[in-house]
Symmetry: C2
DNA sequence: CTGTTAGCGCATTCAG
DNA sequence: CTGAATGCGCTAACAG
């Protein structure tokens, strides 16, 4: 292993001079700089960041904690965060909590232990609070992405769940739907809670009925099980059955349509479906689902930016909150006008 | 920040005793162990792995370098690797090279610098060799996944490209196809090279023509552009046009079908399509593409296992090579028998 | 512009 | 079973 002492010896300078060259710190005469740089190159020196962070408390590593690396929504965030990180001279480390607070906690410990400069987090749920407070205890800044947590004062990049939900639902209402169901994620996740509230508010605003038989929870995973939910809905008396379903995530939306079809329910003729989150089109056919596409890449990109500003202390003291709008894509799964 | 000295002072023992408790090393009396453990718990001590790795040269961090984090094939590998890593007491760090040797090189430097115990690599291409040799120089073991590199002696977990390609093609041949095209990835990637060779061999074996107008390269990315390729194929005289296309990756397959449809070519009636790699079914419809599903999760899982064995020196000296079969899923995109 | 000294938090080595 | 001394590779703080 090559160290700065090897370089120093070969260049006839002190280790400190080498350190200065590497970090572009202090004033170095162009001549010695050249000489040192040449030897660094020659020996293929790579700084030992363990040693470096032991003294300087800086690693230039950002971390991103997501809840499901298999979800394209999160891989997009990762790409955005990585691009910004790279651009600013940081590297990105990815962790996958699987929506599991315990696993998240283990990863947080690892990140503290390994010494990350800051963490971009989509927390598993409200209980993640204690994990994040641990970061604070170790003075590691973090930025919440996608999901906020009540009473946690920190930078955040979030989706405008209220407006987006309302837009999706009003699209359904315009099509003549009056009985609209929701299949949501767990209510201990902020996005689920907000979407639930917005669902309730929008229906109420439009003087539409809210029926507890139309309100269901699943989870946000790829295999989010909705078959039972759909079965229950279809067992309702005809006049109580919803004519439209609002799915609060991509996977829930996909699985809802699949479950409906499995029960010979026509989408959108019998029941219309809209959902949150865009899905990559891996099919040869046109995309079918009406979606609200969140700017996931920007969640990552802007989140990384806030984080770096926080790390480098170029940010104002008060936490910042960025709320981004989503884009509604109206497609076949919801375009069947019941008024006609 | 809590250090072992804080613990030691509070427990009235030396720092060394604390270190021993933490690492389960040496012999400690149950009483002092209990006492120390209680204080560790109480103070919420988290070891500083920078300091630790400075002396012990061990971080318990595995790294996974993939070429495209947006490709479900690689996220599956990540999940497999993560599961095995966790199970064995390691954490997994993810890096995304974007099929770019330079970016890969930067990440390798970071990994060396940060001190990873071992790396699971799907190399960008044949030029990745120098990046991997750098790892060797720093005595960091690595395992190749999915893509091997010539003359690099190391553990590998690979796909049986020869058999799988043959099976896919023989399926086409059984359907009566005699003019089969290939749209491949860059030939400086091992998998592309092997699939090309297997394509050639299989056609020759079955005494079918090989026409250079049927051999095309694209790349393995999500937006792999094949429209020009398809256009060229369709401009061939009718009797020279291929009746089937073998796409060597998921994205190439999807884009091939899309491009064909855009040109009003019916799949599979006019041209059949088969491809490598399974694709998650994000659509409400039945999967359409005939695919060879690689055991990607196992690539990661077994790769991590080999790597950990190498790190912990429980592996035999000689490099091991695991070759895994793929599963063929015959679907509509290729089921139209031309013999009838 | 350059060098010296000291110490980051921990584990190895050797001594009890 | 436990402790003291030492050094990993680097940089902050000071001195020249």
């Amino acid at each position: 292993m090559v160290t700065i002492y090897d370089i120093a010896k070969k260049a006839n300078v002190s280790a400190m001079t080498v350190s200065r060259v590497i970090n572009n710190a202090g004033n170095i005469s162009p001549k010695t700089r050249k000489k040192v740089e040449a030897i660094i190159e020659e020996l293929g020196y790579i700084p030992n960041s363990s040693a470096r962070s032991l003294t300087s408390k800086k690693t230039n590593i950002l971390s991103l904690m997501v809840t499901d690396i298999a979800n394209p929504f999160f891989t997009n965030i990762a790409r955005g965060a990585e691009d910004k990180a790279m651009q600013m001279g940081y590297q990105l480390m990815l962790c996958n909590s699987d929506e599991n607070v315990e696993k998240e906690s283990k990863y947080i410990d690892m990140l503290i232990s390994a010494g990350t400069d800051g963490v971009l987090v989509a927390p598993a749920n409200d209980l993640s609070k204690k994990n994040l407070q641990k970061l604070t205890k170790y003075r590691i800044p973090y930025v919440l992405v996608d999901r906020y947590i009540k009473e946690l004062e920190c930078d955040q990049v979030l989706s405008d769940n209220e407006t987006t939900t309302r837009k999706l639902l009003e699209h359904l209402i315009r099509q003549g739907h009056e009985r609209i169901a929701i299949i949501n994620g767990p209510l201990d996740i902020a996005t689920a809670k907000e979407r639930h509230q917005a669902y309730y508010d929008t229906l109420t605003l439009h003087e539409l009925p809210v029926n507890e038989n139309w309100i269901h929870q699943s989870h946000f995973f790829r295999d989010s099980d909705v078959t039972n939910t759909i079965k229950k809905m279809l067992e309702l008396p005809k006049e109580e059955q919803p004519t439209a379903i609002f799915a609060t995530s991509n996977f829930i939306g996909i699985n809802t349509v699949k479950a409906l079809k499995a029960n010979n329910v026509k989408v959108p003729e019998d029941i219309a479906v809209v959902c949150y989150d865009e899905v990559p089109n891996y099919s040869e056919t046109e995309p079918f689902l009406t979606t609200a596409e969140q700017p996931s890449y920007n969640f990552g990109y802007l989140g990384a930016q806030l984080l770096i500003e926080r790390i480098e202390k170029t940010a104002p003291e008060t936490p910042r909150k960025i709320v981004l709008p989503s884009e509604i894509h109206i497609r076949k799964s919801s375009t069947f006008n019941r008024k006609k």
